[in-house]
Amino acid sequence: MAYPKSFRYTKEHEWIEVKGDLATIGITDHAQHELGDVVFVELPKPGAKIEAGKSFGTVESVKAVSEIYAPASGEVIEANGELQNKPETINSDPHGAAWLIKVRLTSAAGISDLMDASAYEAYIAEKGKETSA
């Protein structure tokens, strides 16, 4: 699956798309792949504050739980309720329908330091080598 150019990516495999002071956050195709079939997602409620680098939720497969780390700081304005009933969307459309939360950013600081699509692809390719080695 292609990694949208308009996104920025974290080393923990979250993506963030910024439009003005609003941002949408999700996990990458690589992440969902590593995780396997997603069975449950735990997300913050609207109004909750999230802090860059801190965990704001979890994604669960049958035998693993992964924390989701905030790529930036802000206030949650919407959480993707669809995922409660259809967690599998995260496997099928991680960069689209399976966005996790929309936030109003308190500061854009740090976002520019995140990886762009090509840097991220290089990054996971590199990781791939390590693990197979």
Binding site: D37, V39, F40, E60, S61, V62, P87, E88
Partner: protein, 503 residues
């Protein structure tokens, strides 16, 4: 070779529904003797609390149906009684039947925890003898038999440590736990109010003593160590590790899950351990029963004795025994009533049957593990080559090349009539095969197991599909765990009547 591979069992596949699906109003499987006092009027006696109908949905079946139902279900289980059950770190040994018999004796099973202690001396003397025996086996000074299982024993142990440090003014913050530890260790530490700091094993899978030296500060309350480790390897520098902790006023906790490798050979107390729990359903043969009941006594050194949970078993004048409910420094109660007494009875029956001969059981357990290791080394990769004690851990590295992983091999083992070994644990071994035969396996059974493992390795190399799609002989094939977790169905519900389906 083929002469030896005699064992291949297939699981009975009788179809059997849920008991609720057999229910029909008016059937009875149990009748009470007639009431010999005037009938009460529930509606009057209980007023608003009265439930006039019986429990909605409760089954109504006959006795033979109950017997058949559960007997059929039983045939879908593998069990120690059917064959080797080499689950690593679970010590699936023979459960002697006399233990079941004595636990059900009148005067043992029938006793009420609140009956007068002068009428409970038999129970108390059983507890006393078990205490003494376990202390002798562990080399400790004091013990509590109260915890209901290993995990609760762990909690009790950590609460003892906390109380002890508290008494000295500072409960401290951290508990150190090796990355090879059982999941209960970190979970327990948190409930006891400690932060968990994981410590890496060194290249041979042992605790990195030099690294530990650096980690042990005034903040560290204890190290929780499993010995032999979950790799089945004895922690050779345990006494030194104890010194490092003691030097900083910290305490050494030992997870006794693997005591089956040590009983009668060496004693944790002598090795410098300050407190440990024992899993009576592992080393001391009380039945696992599909996941309990267990018992998790905690043995300790003098320094921790004052903090033991109440009630405390004490000897009074002229040899009478008593349970004392109050102790100033006690951590309190961890379970209602004295203990899982029935489990303790079985454990003592096991100890009495062996006596000092328990050493022979340990030797046989270690002999079996090493025999299996010797024959499967090379066929399966051995990630940590240090000497094995009661269990041996291989990895699926060789089979991975053909896309066959430890779970596939485990499932194929079922087709050969064995229960799988423990898969994917310890976490420090990718694709682990954790094999613990216990002393209860004859050489013949070990050989059958070895042959099966070799046959599977061969299949993995030449026709992996047959392994990857295993098991083929069970009532059900691989189950959809994803579906089960996404839309949990956790109870039976009667089918909705057609009529309501419309609206």
């Amino acid at each position: 070779m083929n002469e030896k591979i005699k064992k291949a069992s297939r699981h009975v596949s009788q179809s059997e529904g849920l008991i609720f699906e057999k229910s029909s109003p008016g059937k009875r499987a149990f009748e009470l003797p007639p009431l010999d006092v005037p009938k009460a009027e529930p509606a009057k006696a209980l007023a608003a609390h009265h439930r006039s109908e019986g429990v909605e949905g409760f089954p109504e079946v006959s006795e033979i149906e109950v017997i058949r139902h559960f007997t059929r279900l039983s045939t879908w289980n593998h069990a120690i009684d059917l064959g080797m059950y080499p689950l690593g770190s679970c010590t699936m040994k023979y459960n002697p039947r006399v233990n079941e018999f004595v636990a059900r004796l009148e005067g043992i099973a029938t006793e009420h925890p609140y009956q007068p202690q002068e009428l409970s001396q038999g129970c108390l003397r059983i507890l006393r003898l078990l205490e003494k025996s376990l202390l002798e086996i562990t080399g400790m000074d004091a013990i509590t038999l109260q915890p209901a299982a290993g995990a609760q024993g762990e909690l009790t142990g950590l609460l003892l440590i906390r109380a002890y440090l508290q008494k000295q003014g500072n409960p401290r913050k951290k508990v150190l736990i090796p990355d090879s530890a059982h999941g209960t260790n970190p979970a327990t530490a948190v409930i006891a109010g400690y932060e968990v700091e994981n410590i890496k094993s060194e290249s041979h899978g042992q605790v990195d003593v030099e690294g530990l030296r650096r980690l042990v500060t005034e903040d560290v309350a204890a190290l929780m160590i499993t010995n032999p480790s979950t790799l089945g390897i004895f922690e050779q520098r345990l006494p030194e590790i104890a010194q490092i902790l003691h030097a900083k006023g910290a305490v050494l906790y030992m997870d006794g899950a693997n005591l089956n490798a040590l009983a009668g050979i060496t004693r944790p107390g002598d090795l410098g351990v300050d407190v440990m729990h024992l899993n009576l359903h592992k080393t001391f043969s009380t039945p696992h029963g599909g996941g309990g009941p267990g018992a998790g006594p905690v043995a300790m050194k003098k320094i921790l004795e004052p903090f033991r949970p109440v009630p405390i078993l004490v000897e009074k004048e002229n040899g009478r025994l008593a349970l004392e409910p109050v102790r100033p420094d006690s951590i309190g109660r961890v379970k209602a009533f004295s203990s899982n007494f029935g489990v303790l009875v079985r454990a003592l029956a096991y100890i009495l049957a062996y006596g000092p001969g328990v050493r022979q059981a340990t030797e046989d357990a270690v002999l079996n593990a090493n025999y299996i290791r010797r024959h499967l080394e090379g066929v399966y990769e051995l990630p940590y080559p240090l000497p094995s004690m009661h269990e041996v851990v291989f990895s699926d590295a060789i089979q991975k090349k053909n896309g066959v992983n430890t779970m596939d091999i485990a499932k194929r083992l079922i087709d050969y009539g064995f229960h799988p070994y423990t898969t994917a644990f310890p976490l420090i071994v990718p694709g682990a095969l954790m094999i613990e035969p216990t002393e209860s396996e004859s050489r013949e059974e070990c050989d059958l197991f070895i042959d099966a493992m070799k046959a599977i390795a061969e299949e993995a190399a030449t026709q992996p599909e047959i392994v990857k799609t295993a098991p083929h002989t069970t009532r059900v094939r691989r189950l959809d765990e994803v579906g089960a977790a996404r839309k949990p169905v956790l109870r039976w519900k009667p089918a909705a009547p057609k009529s309501t389906a419309a609206d």
